[in-house]
Amino acid sequence: MRGVPVRSHLEELLGPVALVVGAALLGTLVSISTQTYFTDTLVKVAIVVALYVFIGNSGVLSFGHISFVALGAWTAGVLTVPPAEKPAIMPNLAHFLLHRHVGNVTSLVLAAVAGGIGAFVVGIPLMRLSGLAAGIATFAVLEITHNLLQYEERIGPGLNAFSSVPETTGLRQAAIGAVICVVVAAVYARSRFGRLLRATREDAAAARAVGASIYRQRLLAFTVSGCLAGLAGGLYVHLLPVQIDSVYLDLTFLTLAMLVVGGATSLLGAVVGALAINALDSWLSVAENGTSLFGWHINLPSGTAEIVIGIVMAAILILKPSGLTGGRELRLPRLPRLRPRVS
């Protein structure tokens, strides 16, 4: 769209990036053991932003994105386990993978590529579907990926955890990854393709009437978000020893809930939702081991974190179904608006 001032491009990027960078800076102030929570949160931000690119812009629910996170994690993991240790954790690994070894950055790029290819291949048939059929079909993709990765020991550790993958995802790498995801998501959302896809979300018939191909736009968004999900998976496997069940149902539900709690139709919502739920979760996990707040000593029984998170998520969805941000992007205060608001 011509005539949109540069300022509003920056504006939409400003909020999410500032939040991510702020969280990362906050993470540098705390002890190393607490820092892990911040790093983990930033990886979750990357995943939720990846979800937003497809779900937020298309309005179609996908339960399958965690399979692209898993693909990314598997790619980066298999290629960075030191060759000497491969036979120990992956005894049945295919021959051509046994001696391949790449560096940290290359593995992340390949993770993104794997996620993107996976999403593209899956998307070719699946993007014809909408509504519940699309939701269930993407769920089926998650089930199939989980099932195959669990038992295909030629391409990964199967049921074992990805131990001895170099732990290169510190606070800095997670922050850079999250910012990359946010920037890609913002650029995509602002592009002609992002706008067309949102048009199909708002009124499929009208968008079709002006020549937008719902199928192609959805496929593109699915591929882009698959790339980002793959990247996030790469970051994840470099953070902790990922195991097949850590990239399955729980992560799917949690990240989806974060997206909807934040406000699914905006990038800011994705980031806010991920940060808010993770902050609460991290704080509660710390409190389960005993902590003090405003001079009160708190020691929650273990298992409370999940319960409180569940209650909070349900409460937000019931009280404010459009999410914490109402699905809007950040707007700096300005003079009375003369043109209609976009998105």
């Binding site: 309005g59 629910l61 048939p125 699946l126 014809r128 579907l129 909408s130 509504g131 519940l132 059929a133 939701g135 269930i136 079909a137 769920f139 089926a140 993709v141 089930e143 199939i144 989980h146 099932n147 195959l148 038992y151 018939a205 149902l249 539900f253 949690l254 989806l256 809930a257 909807v260 699914a264 029984p301 298992g303 409370t304 999940e306 319960i307 998170i309 569940g310 209650i311 998520m313 349900a314 969805l317 019931i318 009280l319 179904p321």
Partner: protein, 301 residues
Amino acid sequence: MTLSILNISWQTLADGLELGAIYALMAVGIGLVFGVLRLVNFAYGQLVMAGGFALALASQWGWPVWAGIVLCFAVVLALSIAMDVLVFRPLRGHSPAVMLVATFAVAFLLQSIALLWFGSLGKIATSLAFLNRPWAISGVDIRKIAIVAVAVAIVCLLLLQLLLERTSIGLHMRAASMDFATSRMLGVRASRVISFAVLLSGALAAVVAVMLTVQSPLVTPDFALRDTIVVLAGVVVGGLNRLVPATLGGFAIGFATGVLGGALPTNQSQYLPTFVFAAVIVVLLVRPRGLFDFRRTVERV
């Protein structure tokens, strides 16, 4: 004795029928609520899980079987009502995505509570274990539960059919699931219909809990979670908009899972979810409106 052509034993066939019957009941439970609320209740599996824990506790306390079943019904119905009042009502009329994700949150919450109370190892429900013993019918051994499950499912579905066709509340429910707004204008009480549907769906969850605990007596916090996912897939494959196709879809996926699980050789049966869900994708691509939905409607602007 086997069906030699397909290499399927009668027990496998019975397992398929049993799982199909149980899944058909779950499908009806999910379909009833979807009909009036347009809400896919993902937390349905957790209702079954709660019922399972009620049965396990009852058998741990040494209660007689009937008391355990009563407790199971009481717990599941109370939980259904609470879910209706606290979650479904406030969310009525919101977008399907928000409602679905809200039921995720509820499912997650209930699972966490179960984890806190009962631990991840779960409890064992033993009081109905005698139903697991085989019954010899003309030389073929079939576990009693398979027969019981099929019989119970048929009775439940017939009763439900009577209720929907012959009572005024059933008429109201059918009207409401056809067109909620219009039926309200014609005097159908919205909240009464919804509460009734939720209660019916809860009662079916309790029945399912009883039968699933016989089939797999170990009740863990993620009990029935996988079954819910499979049933949801089956329901959508069958056609969620109407009850009969949804039920058929649930039965079909249960039957397919049960038979394939028994018929595949061990080195392939670990890939059972892949086969089942690949079939789900194929059916959805060929018939996105549902396998058993034969009406022809064209979306108009």
